[in-house]
């Protein structure tokens, strides 16, 4: 008898259980889905308003209206995947590890990080994913560019790298609540950091902008998460700086390193785990 569970099957069971649960609370599910879509729609509205006053964002960056919408769409895709798979789990993990209720997870003969990160899937985030894909398609049509199979595959790869990077940051922050206690600031911190990632790198310019850009590209690589896949598709923005050649392979490396780093933090946090007294 094999010692290891089939991780694919376990994940599918998580997905199924989560779906069953979400369907039991159908009203909430619908409200959540509609809610996040409305949020995205208003965001889009904001940028439509901005483009009334300007043709592009950033001088000579190439982020004109539809390339920028493509960027937004990529942001939607990456973030909706992170939300769907990991958000609730990270929150709950933070709570469990802080209150000492993680015991049951530690008893199971399965990788603890896998269990903790994926046990709950938020199907309502998929609404955003659909919205993102639709916006992506629409933008590509307006730009007049149809990506070939290689470009499409690379796009998916970079999206997954982005997801991996954001996940790693999220879980590392959640794990740190075992040392730092109540996690509201941590949650805010994640939100603020990823806030930076939602804009094209090119806007970070100047005396404070350049170091920030460098920090969030190479030290905490959140800027890579959405920028790299979006840029890989926008034909009009041919690589303009040496950085543009470096970033795609860097994204892959950063994704791997981030996940490994998050695993290290995760395991360290388990060492400090203190089960709640009874």
């Amino acid at each position: 008898m094999s010692l290891h569970p089939s991780y694919v099957k376990v994940f599918l069971t998580f997905a199924r259980n989560s779906l069953v649960r979400d369907m039991t609370f159908r009203a909430n599910f619908l409200i959540d889905t509609l809610g996040s879509i409305s949020w995205m729609a208003m965001n889009l509205g904001f940028y439509i308003l901005v483009f009334q006053y300007t043709d592009s964002i950033g001088a000579n960056t190439g982020w004109e209206r539809y390339p920028f919408f493509l960027f937004l769409a990529t942001g939607l895709v990456v973030n909706s995947i992170v939300h769907a798979l990991f958000m609730t789990n990270a929150d709950e993990f933070s709570e469990l590890i802080r209150t000492g209720s993680l015991d049951f997870a530690l008893l199971k003969p399965i990788d603890t990080q896998f269990l903790v990160s994926l046990q709950r899937i938020e199907w309502s985030s998929l609404g955003n994913l659909v919205f993102g894909v639709v916006l992506l398609g629409y933008s590509l049509v307006q730009i007049g560019y149809a990506p070939g199979p290689v470009e499409a595959a690379l796009y998916v790869l970079y999206v997954l790298c982005g997801v991996a990077i954001l996940y790693s940051l999220m879980i590392a922050l959640a794990a740190s609540s075992v040392w730092l206690g109540r996690n509201q600031t941590l949650y805010d911190f994640w939100f603020y950091i990823t806030n930076f990632s939602r804009y094209p790198r090119e806007i970070y310019r100047g005396r404070y902008g350049d170091p920030l850009r460098w920090l969030f590209t190479f030290i905490i690589p959140v800027l890579v998460a959405i920028n790299v896949p979006a840029r890989s598709l926008v034909r009009s923005l041919e690589p303009q700086t040496p950085e543009d050649w470096v970033l795609p392979p860097f994204a892959v490396v950063a994704a791997v390193v981030s996940v490994l780093a998050s695993r290290w933090v995760f395991n360290r946090s388990l060492l400090s785990y203190r089960s709640a007294s009874s």
Partner: protein
């Protein structure tokens, strides 16, 4: 070859003090005071395969901490332990497949889903072969009589039913070692009885090794021949239940039924009068002087019937805790969770 071997196992915690008042809170920004709590102190224990051992002790004695150490949920400060040859806190998958931990009043099943779905998840995680899984599940649900509740969301079940589901979940992968932490706490008498019966049957038929912690004497008396008493993190007794009374029972109870229906008023000089219900009276007398006291009573009064008994086990244990410096645990009292 012992299934569980513990040597010098210790676990201590740092607990931070929070003081009252505004000034203290501000001071807390810069420096925090703490004290060290020793939950488990140099515990030695060996358990053979197939044994059913009870851990008895007051709240905070270290019983649950010991179980958690043996489950690998927490790591010790000192000492070693091996269960089934594994070091528990390494949390090897190979070890985790072979044991189970059940904690009273703590749920691991998905709250909003039927238990059946949680069981299926278990099957996937433990990689239990489907036909074996079905057989085990049916057998367990049959024994506990909850088959028809499998499709109901766990939150709709009563406390007793939920506990039974938790037990089933723990046993689906046929563990060789079972750790039970207060499994019957909060359950009504009938449910307690059912669970006890189930555990006894299960243990006898499968020869699993079980470590059970409980406050309830009835659990212990019904199920275990070997009792380990823990107080303040140390083991103060390890042996049979009867032996506790022999070792710690300092008194015996003499029950008298007076012939003339009246209870004499001067019995207090023989011992402590603990109950008077004419024509019956009970006296608490130190063990060593029982024969002598009995003789004197019988010589002085007309007695219809007499019996000499051990004091209630709970009382002996309460005294045992009290003498070791820990607060006694009362049977049936609400347990703080």
């Amino acid at each position: 070859m012992a299934v569980i071997e513990i040597e010098g196992l210790s676990k201590s915690y740092r607990v931070y003090q929070k003081k009252e008042g505004l000034r203290a809170s501000l001071a807390g920004l810069f420096r925090r005071e703490y004290r060290t709590v020793e939950a488990v102190r140099a515990v030695d224990l060996a358990v053979e395969p197939g044994e059913f051992v009870a851990f008895l002790g007051p709240n905070g004695a270290g019983k649950t901490t010991t179980l958690k150490l043996l489950s690998g949920v927490i790591t010790p400060t000192a000492g070693t332990a091996r269960v089934l040859g594994h070091v528990p806190w390494k949390r090897e998958n190979a070890y985790r497949r072979r044991f189970a931990l059940v904690m009273g009043q703590k749920n691991q099943l998905w709250w909003d889903l039927p238990a059946a779905e949680s069981f299926r998840l278990h099957q996937q995680i433990y990689r239990i072969e489907p036909s074996r899984f079905d057989r085990t599940r049916d057998e367990l649900t049959g024994l506990l009589g909850v088959g028809q509740l499998l499709g109901q969301p766990v939150r709709e079940l009563s406390l007793g039913e939920r506990m039974k589901m938790e037990l089933i979940a723990a046993l689906l992968h046929s563990p060789e070692v079972l750790f039970l932490d207060e499994p019957t706490i909060g359950l009504d008498v009938v449910a307690q009885y059912n669970v006890q019966g189930f555990l006894r049957h299960y243990q006898e038929s499968r020869r699993v090794t079980i470590l059970l912690t409980s406050h309830y004497m009835k659990d212990v008396a019904a199920l275990c021949r070997r009792v380990v008493v823990i107080a303040l993190g140390r083991i103060i007794y390890d042996g049979s239940l009867a032996g506790i009374v022999d070792r710690f029972g300092g008194h015996k109870v003499i029950s008298l039924e007076m012939t003339d229906g009246q209870v004499p008023g001067d019995l207090a000089r023989f011992g402590e009068v603990i109950a008077v219900e004419p024509p019956r009276v009970k006296l608490r007398v130190e063990r060593g002087v029982v024969p002598e006291v009995l003789g004197r009573i019988l010589a002085a009064h007309a007695v219809e019937d007499v019996s000499v008994e051990d004091p209630p086990l709970e009382q002996v244990i309460a005294e045992m805790f009290a003498s070791s410096g820990a607060a006694p645990e009362q049977e049936g009292a609400e347990s703080r969770q």
